[in-house]
């Protein structure tokens, strides 16, 4: 085993590709891990709000091939409600009983010999509903709502959680500010649309009361205990497994967990293993979505453009039940509410409001797009108001390079950064000044606009931030929560074969490849000497509550765990070699898979040392255990629990990016074309630039979708109008700009051992703001909501014209 190169930082192609391109990936729908699996289909509510008067399953039970039919009442008898992240009394179960609260909510489950028959039997079930008024408003009603419009008894006006935080003297500063600007913004409900839908296989063993549940769940594994609680079992009785391949998630598959519990109970009731693969129509109506958010922003400024105070009133539509980990969308960005700007006086009011829509959860960007759309729009609005160039406006308020590490008003510790340098790089790369002069040109019905967004990108979520939904007094009564830990195990077999097991549950990001790079470097072996196992199994993998793939945490947490485990193995081998050689360990190091003493190769190779540990354990020096199987749990100590004054370092590290967009809008058709898109990131050290590039391109596509096309549209009765991919428009290659420029500026962080920060979500946070800024620039009209479909653009122009007309 020899290796000349170090692999970290190189654009290594992926080990995963071989199997995936050949169709040899193993996705949920492909696997049948136990014999005797039967297939489930779910009957779902056609109404947004209705009392269930009766359910008749007799006909369905008689159908040939049907093994069982179970109503919500039969299923929920076996369950506790899921614990929720707020103190409001919300009883959330994986299936409705007595009342439905959103279109697509499960009502009954059929198990049959195959999916075709199970779906046939759904049509045999007769449900009588008494419809109730739907509650679709996000902003809580001023007066008291009619009791029939309440989603849950005893929850006044459907507000599941609300909190107010003031840092500095925001109210006072706003009163004294030379300029005060106020606007209301609306970020739409959109969703992730991975091409693979949810999939679950559940196997209940009655002799032991054990549940084994395979699914494309990718964490956070905080939800393991939520599931066990719902199933009324001790946590060791719940074994969660995820396959090696997950067909994308972008967050949404963390919300497969209610279905995992649902199928667990169904397996118990029907007494056989049960498989359920969600279809696309089910996914659009019954999986999960981002929160829709209304934000009222009040900004206080000096005439010179310095922001003196920022007030945000945020209303999140969390859907019919506040499902864990919500209200996390409101708190994921709590530390970085002020973005890239040095603003010391901040006030934020948060409301998580329940409506008759599907419950919400993780969607790529998670809280970031909801925050940065209003914040970055306000910067432009303020710039225009004061007659300052939007870029200058940002320069005047950026956190200065000598201020790092910088603690924000709300408690985040921005470890490192150079926002000015990234901005300058982006301006140059995008030829901003050149475009700036061109943009006043028009050609026929086309108008041109230029937009910028600056985003501080948090990565590695602090497990403690969600507890900010509780008051400090309420938190005192709970155990403190903190950290962004990840685990990895490196093992060497008796003939020197190296394997690594991860807890990161990737969904396409290429963790196998990067883990190989890290371990090959640490043990000085070629990459193909390392095998990486990404299947998750809570019974055999090393894991913890924060394990999983979300909040761009692989670079900020996962990579540290992998390196730590490899270093433990290396250190053990060197200590053993030192004992064998009778010399001081500090003189030894690994090189090309051998132990070297300074510049002298010893007789001990990594393979021979591993062999001696396995085959001759009786001869081990004192204090060295037999076997090589080392686990590292890595977390940053800075990721601490919220303070008594409600400050939180909500993420482990904070990257930065600038996006610059040039677009053309046709004022006759309302159609927007992105002519040029530039993004410059600072994510510290890049572990694999090729994969970083893929995350950025994918993030831009996702962000363009959120900006221009994507919305789960519900009518006033709560009917979903965008229930298929015909109605919910996901960008195809035709919607991707031809001119895409990306580059990096590296300010490595000293906090993570490899100097890396996450970067997979930044463009999803930046693109909607940058595109909206560019459209506002083109039309001279302030854009206050998304997505910017031709219809929206058209309405925007016409309502503006009407306003202009009334003004004159």
């Amino acid at each position: 085993m020899t290796s000349e190169k170090t692999w970290i930082g190189r654009p290594v192609t992926r080990i995963e590709d071989g199997r995936l391109i050949r169709g040899e990936g193993r996705f949920m729908a492909d696997i049948n891990p136990v014999p005797g699996i039967r297939h489930a289909a779910i009957l779902r509510s056609p109404y947004a709000h209705a009392a269930i008067r009766s359910i008749n399953i007799q006909e369905a039970l008689l159908r040939n091939g049907v093994l069982g039919v179970f109503t919500g009442e039969m299923i929920n008898r076996e369950l506790n409600p899921f614990p929720v992240g707020v103190s409001a009394p919300v009883n959330y179960y994986p299936i409705a009983h007595s009342k439905v609260r959103y279109v697509g909510e499960p009502v009954a489950v059929v198990v049959a010999e195959n999916r075709y028959v199970a779906e046939d039997a759904l049509r045999d079930i007769v449900v009588h509903y008494d419809t109730l008024p739907s509650s679709m408003d996000i902003e809580p009603a001023k007066g008291q709502l009619d009791p029939s419009a309440l989603l849950h008894e005893d929850i006044l006006n459907n507000v599941a959680s609300s909190r107010r935080f003031e840092y500095g003297r925001c109210e006072k500063e706003l009163k004294q500010a030379e300029v005060v600007l106020t606007n209301r913004f609306r970020y739409p409900r959109n969703t992730a649309v991975p091409i693979e839908t949810y999939g679950v296989i559940a196997n209940y063993e009655s002799h032991s009361d054990y549940y084994t549940i395979w699914s494309n769940f990718h964490g956070p594994f905080t939800l393991h205990s939520v599931m066990a609680h719902a199933l009324k079992i001790d946590t060791h009785k719940l074994r969660l497994c995820s396959p090696s391949d997950i067909g994308g998630s972008f967050g949404v598959k963390s919300a497969v967990y209610p279905y995992a519990v649902l199928m667990g109970v169904v397996s118990k009731l029907v007494r056989c293993p049960v498989k359920w693969v969600e279809d696309r129509l089910e996914h659009m109506q019954g999986s999960s979505s981002a929160t829709q958010r209304i934000t009222d922003v009040t900004m206080g400024l000096s005439c010179g453009g310095k922001i003196t105070a920022l007030k945000l009133v945020q209303y999140d539509d969390v859907g019919a039940y506040i499902r864990a980990p919500e209200p996390a969308t409101l708190y994921r960005t709590h530390g970085n509410l002020t973005g890239a700007y040095d603003i010391r006086n901040v006030l934020v009011e948060n409301y998580a409001v329940m409506t008759n829509r599907v419950p919400t959860g993780l969607i790529r960007g998670f809280g970031g797009p909801q925050l940065y759309f209003p914040l970055e729009r306000m910067i432009d609005i303020a710039a225009r108001h004061l007659g300052i160039d939007p870029v200058d406006m940002r320069r005047r308020n950026f956190i200065r390079i000598d201020a790092f590490p910088y603690t924000t008003a709300s408690g985040a510790v921005y470890d490192s950064g150079n926002y000015q340098a990234v901005l300058e790089q982006a301006l140059e790369k995008s030829e901003y000044n050149h475009f700036r002069h061109q943009r006043s040109e028009t050609s026929g019905s086309l108008r041109y606009g230029l937009g910028v967004a600056a985003v501080v990108e948090p990565s590695g979520s602090n497990m403690g931030y969600v507890s900010l939904a509780f008051t400090p007094t309420e938190r005192m009564a709970q155990w403190p929560k903190s950290g962004a830990a990840a685990a990895a195990t490196v093992a060497i077999d008796p003939l020197g074969g190296i394997s690594v097991r991860l807890d990161s549950v990737p969904e396409g990001q290429g963790h196998e490849t990067v883990a190989r790079q890290i371990v090959a470097d640490a043990l000085t072996v070629p990459m193909d000497a390392v095998r990486v196992i990404v299947e998750m199994d809570t019974a055999t993998s090393a894991w913890t509550v924060s394990s999983g793939s979300y909040s761009s945490r692989f670079a900020s947490a996962g990579s540290g765990a992998i390196l730590g485990a490899a270093q433990k193995v290396r250190d053990k081998l060197l200590v053993l070699a030192a004992a064998k050689l009778g010399i001081d360990v500090s003189t030894l190091h690994l090189h090309q898979g051998w132990v070297w003493q300074d510049k002298q190769k010893t007789v001990w190779s990594l393979r021979r040392l591993a062999g001696s540990i396995h085959w001759n354990p009786a001869d081990m020096p004192k204090g060295i255990e037999a076997g090589i199987h080392e686990t590292c749990y890595f977390t940053l100590p800075q990721v601490s629990a919220p303070s008594v004054d409600d400050r939180i370092n909500s993420s482990a590290v904070y990257g930065f990016l600038i996006d610059i967009v040039k677009l053309a809008v046709d004022i006759e058709t309302g159609q927007i074309r992105i002519l040029d898109y530039t993004t410059v990131h600072d994510a510290g050290t890049l572990l694999n630039p090729l994969l970083a590039q893929g995350q950025i391109y994918g993030g831009i596509a996702f962000g363009i979708g959120s900006a221009l096309y994507e919305e789960l549209v519900y009518d006033n009765n709560g009917q979903l109008l965008t229930g298929s991919l015909m109605d919910y428009f996901v960008p195809t290659i035709s919607e991707m700009p031809k001119h895409l420029k990306l580059s990096h500026h590296s300010t490595p962080t000293e906090l993570t051992p490899l100097g890396a920060k996450g970067l997979g979500e930044g463009n999803v946070m930046a693109a909607p703001a940058a595109i909206a800024n560019a459209l506002s620039d083109a039309l001279g009209i302030e854009v206050l909501h998304l997505p910017l479909t031709p219809q929206t653009v058209f309405e925007l122009m016409h309502s503006h014209q009407r306003k202009e007309a009334t003004r004159t």
């Binding site: 192609t13 992926r14 693979e196 994308g248 279809d279 391109y697 994918g698 996702f702 015909m726």
Partner: protein, 160 residues
């Protein structure tokens, strides 16, 4: 015209990846479910079951088609090629190499369908790449790496 009663099984003779199969199937069984569940060819993926996403693309008589929009029984006497067969084709290694080098694969769920389109469209122009790729949804890559991979293959063919 083939007439089969509901609930009755009909005989299906077809070739998949060069092997002949004779199976009794329900008339309503979709081609994609037949390939995956009856033949165990799980490289063909189901993304939407309504012909939008392109993940289930296979070759029917050498032409790319959505296997979720065809009944298995309508394939009587026809030849189907799935990714398991395509990966044995002589053009395949160059496509796989280009997709990997350009990082045109992330989760890989849409990839086998895209390969089916790439491998059969040898004589396309650069503009046609976008038209053909627009028939496939990919949520991971932003299509950039896939487009570049396809362009690389064309360039190689034209000896550029």
């Amino acid at each position: 015209m083939l007439k089969v009663k509901h609930d009755e099984l009909a005989t299906l003779n077809m070739a998949v990846n060069g092997h002949y199969y004779r199976r009794a199937v329900e008339s309503r069984l979709l081609l994609v479910d037949f390939l995956r569940d009856e033949l165990g060819l799980t490289g063909t993926h189901v993304g939407c079951e309504q012909g939008i996403c392109g993940a289930c693309t296979v070759l029917i008589e050498g032409v790319p088609a959505r296997s979720c929009l065809h009944f298995a029984l309508s394939m009587k006497g026809k030849e189907i090629t799935t990714i398991e067969g395509l990966s044995e084709w002589p053009q395949f290694p160059a496509i796989a190499e280009a997709l990997s080098r350009r990082h045109g694969v992330q989760c890989g769920f849409c990839t086998p369908g895209i390969v089916a389109s790439m491998i059969t469209e040898e004589g396309v122009s650069e503009e046609e790449i976008d038209v053909l790729l627009a028939g496939h949804l990919c949520r991971c890559t932003g299509y950039v790496g896939i487009r570049q991979a396809w362009q690389d293959i064309l360039a190689k063919k034209e000896g550029k």
